[in-house]
Amino acid sequence: MIPLAINGIGPVGAFGAGMEKWHSALNGNIDVTPETTIIKTRDGVYNLPIFRASSKSLANFVKSRKLRRLDNFSRLALLGAALAAEDAEPTIMGPRTGLIVASAHGATATTFAFLDSVINDGDALASPTLFSNSVHNAAASHIAEHFQITGPNLSLTQGADSLAMALLTAAQWLESNRIDTILCGIVDCYCDVLGYCWQSYQQQCNPENPPRTYGPGEGSLFFQLSRAEANAAKPKYGYLNKIALNIAAPPTTESLIYSRTGSDTKPRSTDSKSVPEAYKNRLQIETTTICGDLPIPASFDLAAAAIILYDRGTYNQKKTLTTPPFTGSTICCWQPQNHRKPLTGNCYWITNQYD
């Protein structure tokens, strides 16, 4: 793939919205208090901490009249895209701008709300508004309409690989000169069915059910990307140089963010015992305390890497990042895919030097 310039990032999660909030959260300066929801599974009743994201600040970008039509999934996606566009300043919209929205599960809350309308009122009174917003690419449609992005538009779902495939596709579109810029991101929303699933899988993987401080999360994160050019000014957050899919192990030479992720079918573990010995002296990131457990956590790892490169901060907060502090020019984000046998993972290289 060609190197991509990262010009803007729009993160939205339980920590807040925008890069300033993300920066503060990584520094341990934001106390995130999850909501608590009671979930009853086959094994018992649980108070599940839910890391909800607010889309309130979307009102800064979109008239409230227009927001009435949007569900939470589309709102979070639109807010992430708007923040990335604002952060990149300016993002030129139109036919030479592309849009990619990746999601592990899509607008599940709206899908189940549609089913509520069927179950409560009968097939004949199913809600057309809920149905059209439950379609996987509804969020992409709302973003395109708001920004008048008339270039290629893709919605995809590929479990924990969703981010890698979104970024690879973005790189291909830029390389083939179909577009000049792109808003590319992920979004996933919480609903109680997902909470039920999350708790049930936790129980399956660890029947002892130790007390946890984290639970399912929701949020979105968008990048504004363009082709990296040798003679252009250095982009705000450096370059995404390379993505490797399904490799056996991460590189040993560069700084490495090891995200303690699980897989799309099993819960991630934040138990320190689960960190492989080989990664214990590498950068480790723990975002479950600030965003909850997200189905596509790698996007937030990349945003963390970008911020570390951006101001070479000393992110040594016990809450989110562990030692050693970053000193180099390139960070690899390593996302293991525990469900693949033999175990493989995806790796993303972010650097502040044009290669």
Binding site: M1, K40, R69, P95, H105, G106, T111, F112, F114, L115, D116, V118, I119, D123, A124, A126, S127, P128, F131, S132, S134, V135, H136, N137, A138, A140, S141, H142, A144, E145, F147, Q148, I149, T150, G151, P152, N153, L154, S155, L156, T157, Q158, G159, D161, L168, T169, Q172, W173, E175, S176, R178, V193, C197, S200, Y201, Q204, L245, N246, D264, T265
Partner: protein, 409 residues
């Protein structure tokens, strides 16, 4: 020997199944026969005063609904189509694929949706449902399933662009070949009929209780269908290697080529196309530009033609303006609207029609709509040309077009 431009992507195999048949041969042949009419869904019931017929797959082992079945019907249909496509491309020994960069890019709608109705009813009723339906959904990502079944190690991507998913998946797969990311790509689409989707389309008041009539003045909506279609795309380098090593039993050249593709969003409305077809027009222009082909060279257009009022009006207007003399038709009168599979199924038909130099009647059409003022084919025709377009419009304002070529003389 047909010539082609360097950036065109060879299509070496096709596999498909639909209401018309459980393989591509029978599916394709039925397009030129008397139309089979849609029937009431066999596998589920709908609770409406009026009956809405669908185009369902013929009874087969795919109907088995063993609760232990690890994959959704959508993925099982995708496996059947992919198996046929790989065989068609001469990949009889699938273990050879392990040594190649093989990607999978599949379009779907239902196959990417967590919407098991029974599970949800039980959840609502506090019955703490078994996780099997969720396990099946999580295990059934169509691209992941195909990669696992055929032991492929390349990129895998499930496109969920609603009704243009199949077309977009093929376009992305072709890019993977052009960029060198893959040696071979399984690209296509798959979608099953389900109650949730049927109720959704009925709620939008775009389902017709009668057999659908694309582009006809009396059209009154679509009939949903189900099916899957897969193309095998290969790099020129791989084709040459296979010919040298003798592992390709096909004596003929590739079936056809993806010569170009274009995609553009209306950025207009969630469910309605732009009234002047802004996005479709641009998608078609991009596809022509990508292939470096003049519009006059297009022999026919396999239109989206769902039979909804808005879609056919927009599509008909654009085709009249950009391709006033080029024959066009919709095959949805035969297959129904297979959603995420539609673009792939229609691309497969387009390839075979180019190869056989004939196109079918646009089934369901009888009377020209004065608002469109452009009529699709009324009877099968022989053609003489090497380029054709297959296009899809979708929810969300997506418009995508594939330009397919036999190669030039």
């Amino acid at each position: 020997m047909k010539q082609r431009q360097k950036r065109w992507v060879p299509i070496t195999g096709i596999g498909a199944l639909s209401c018309l048949g459980l393989d591509f041969g029978s599916t394709y042949a039925a397009l030129f026969k008397e139309r089979q009419l849609p029937t009431l869904p066999r596998r589920f019931k709908l609770g409406h005063k009026i009956s809405y017929p669908v185009f369902e797959l013929p009874p087969s082992k795919l109907d088995l609904s063993d609760p232990r079945e690890p994959w959704l019907r959508t993925s099982r249909m995708a496996i059947a189509a992919a198996t046929e496509a790989l065989t068609d491309a001469g990949w009889n020994d699938l273990s050879e694929l392990k040594h190649l960069k093989v990607g999978v890019c599949i379009g779907t709608t239902v196959g990417g949706s967590m919407n098991d109705e029974k599970f949800y009813r039980d959840f609502r009723d506090q019955k703490t449902p078994d996780m099997q339906p969720i396990n099946r959904y999580l295990n059934s990502n169509p691209a992941e399933v195909l990669a696992r079944v055929f032991s492929l190690c390349g990129p895998r991507l499930t496109v969920v662009n609603a009704c243009s998913s199949g077309t977009d998946a093929i376009s992305i797969g072709a890019e993977w070949i052009k960029s060198g990311l893959c040696d071979l790509v399984l690209a296509g689409g798959s979608d099953e009929l389900c109650r949730v989707t049927c109720n959704g389309f009925i709620s939008l008041m775009i389902s017709d209780p009668q057999p659908c009539r694309p582009f006809d003045q009396s059209r009154n909506g679509l009939n949903l269908g189900e099916g899957a279609a897969m193309l095998v795309l290969e790099s020129e380098k791989l084709l040459q290697q296979r010919q040298v090593s003798g592992t390709n039993p096909r004596s003929a050249p590739p079936r056809a080529f993806i010569a170009g593709s274009g995609s553009s969003c209306d950025a207009w409305h969630l469910t309605a196309p732009h009234p002047e077809g802004r996005g479709l027009r641009r998608a078609l222009e991009l596809a022509l530009d990508d292939a470096k082909i003049e519009p006059e060279k297009i022999t026919f257009i396999n239109a989206h033609g769902t039979a909804t009022n808005n879609n056919d009006l927009t599509e008909g207007k654009v085709l009249k303006e950009l391709f006033p003399k080029t024959p066009f038709f919709s095959t949805k009168g035969h297959t129904g609207h297979t959603l995420g599979a539609a673009g792939a199924l229609e691309a497969a038909f387009t390839i075979a029609m180019l190869q056989e130099q004939k196109i079918p009647q646009s089934s369901g059409f009888a009377q020209i709509d004065p608002q469109i003022d452009h009529a699709p084919t009324k009877s099968p025709q022989t053609i003489n040309g090497t380029f054709a377009l297959s296009q899809s419009l979708a929810f969300g304002g997506n418009n995508s077009a594939l330009l397919i070529s036999l190669g030039e003389d």
